[in-house]
């Protein structure tokens, strides 16, 4: 699909800049150009497609679907986990969303399945994983994320942790939306998706570039399998360390994916790389700060703990399976 981009990169690096093949700089630059083109194009297409699809699943609809199924536990959790993937999720929407669900009578556990699934199965990451690593890896990503979402929701639901939600949440009366907003037409949807895509890329391109830059550096200077000794299948602690390092970090999925490819090339086991990616993208400090407004520290800690544990487990599982 991207052979033309590789040829362009080769032409630029070896003909136009005249660098010798096989040198560190040539390798790094070649990767930078090729991967840069590839990632930004993929990003644009994937974000556009996803945003367009998401337009059909506004949070109000999700809330309605989940509230309707509040009696059916397992189905509720599965639905929440599935809807978490497609519904838009800006981290500041997490709070109004949470409150909206609680107010509609959606059980706490189900709400959590949603809260875990939304950042954990990141559609951009999914699209990029599919494009870069193929269907199998992408499917594993979705399935593991969904399983973690459903299970953590079930566990939290079972533990009866309603008392660790800030009290005012249960007292909020959500107003009736007095909106003047008309139903979007197809043209609106296509155009909104385009505006959003442009704006997103304008906001995140530095981070993506950094991710590609680091990948480029690794591509040029870090020989294949250099990290295998430390983070390959042999090291039993690798996944723990990867997740421990990843959780406090946050990056947009597009920024971290180029790195994942390079990490695996450098010999890091696939499960460990994936666990690292999930840890980085699923939990972010800004989101935690916002969630603190509705969750008491203990519940927030449980949330982070369960998600992290799920990711660690998944990392080990993949290392064992792949």
């Amino acid at each position: 699909m991207f052979v033309w981009a590789q040829r362009l990169a080769d032409w630029l690096v070896y003909r136009v800049f005249g660098l010798a093949a096989g040198t560190h700089l040539a390798g790094a630059l070649n990767f930078l150009i090729f991967d840069g083109i590839k990632i930004f194009l993929l990003l644009a297409v994937i974000v556009y497609a996803i945003t367009f699809i998401r337009g059909f699943f506004p949070p109000e609809k999700t809330r309605e679907i989940l509230a309707r199924n509040k009696g059916r536990t397992l189905i509720g959790h599965i639905l929440a986990a599935l809807l978490g993937i497609v519904t838009p999720f800006c981290s500041c929407s997490a709070v109004p969303l949470f409150i909206g669900f609680v107010e509609a009578g959606v059980p706490l556990g189900v709400t959590f399945s949603y809260l875990v699934a939304a950042p954990m199965v990141n559609e951009v990451a999914l699209g990029l994983l599919y494009a870069m690593f193929g269907l199998r890896i992408a499917l594993i990503y979705v399935l593991s994320g969904e399983t973690i979402a459903v299970l953590s929701g079930l566990i939290i639901g079972r533990l009866g942790l309603e008392r660790y939600v800030e009290e005012y949440v249960f007292k909020i009366k959500m107003g009736q939306a007095e909106t003047d907003v008309r139903q979007p037409t197809m043209m609106d949807r296509l155009r909104d998706a385009w505006l959003y895509t442009c704006d997103l890329i304008k906001r995140i391109w530095p981070y993506v570039l950094i991710g590609i830059g680091i990948g480029g550096f690794m591509h040029g200077w870090v020989p294949a399998n250099a990290l295998a000794r430390y983070a390959g299948k042999g090291n039993p602690f690798a996944v723990f360390i990867a997740v421990a390092v990843g959780v406090p970090l946050y990056s947009n999925a597009a920024g971290i994916l180029p790195l994942i490819g390079e990490l695996t090339r450098a010999g890091v086991a696939m499960g460990t790389s994936l666990a690292f990616m999930m840890a980085v993208t699923a939990l972010s400090v800004p989101e935690m700060i916002l969630l603190r407004r509705v969750l008491k520290p203990r519940l927030l800690a449980i949330f982070v703990g369960i998600v992290s544990a799920g990711i660690v487990f998944t990392g080990y599982l993949f290392n064992a399976l792949l």
Binding site: P88, C90, L97, Y168, A177, E178, R203, P286
Partner: protein
């Protein structure tokens, strides 16, 4: 004319607030654009997706980013 931007501090919300302030300036409307960050108050408008634009108590747009031109159109239609 009462203009409020509902949002809790993420990049999109701040961006909308800026666009709205710009639109207000360009249209010469003499009013303060209020940024509402309090969750309880945001919920009272019945929306779950921030950022949102509220003019004279009615929600005019929510969940998506508006260009300055679009904000101007909304503000003008209410004048």
């Amino acid at each position: 004319m009462e203009i409020k931007v509902l949002g809790m501090g993420c990049a999109s919300c701040n961006k909308l607030a800026e666009s709205v302030k710009q639109a207000v300036k360009e249209l010469g409307i003499d009013t303060e654009v209020k940024k509402i960050e309090d969750v309880a108050e945001i919920m009272r408008y019945g929306i779950m997706k921030t950022p949102a634009l509220v003019v004279n108590g009615k929600v005019k747009a929510f969940g998506n980013l508006l260009s300055v031109a679009e904000v101007k159109a909304i503000l003008q239609s209410d004048q």
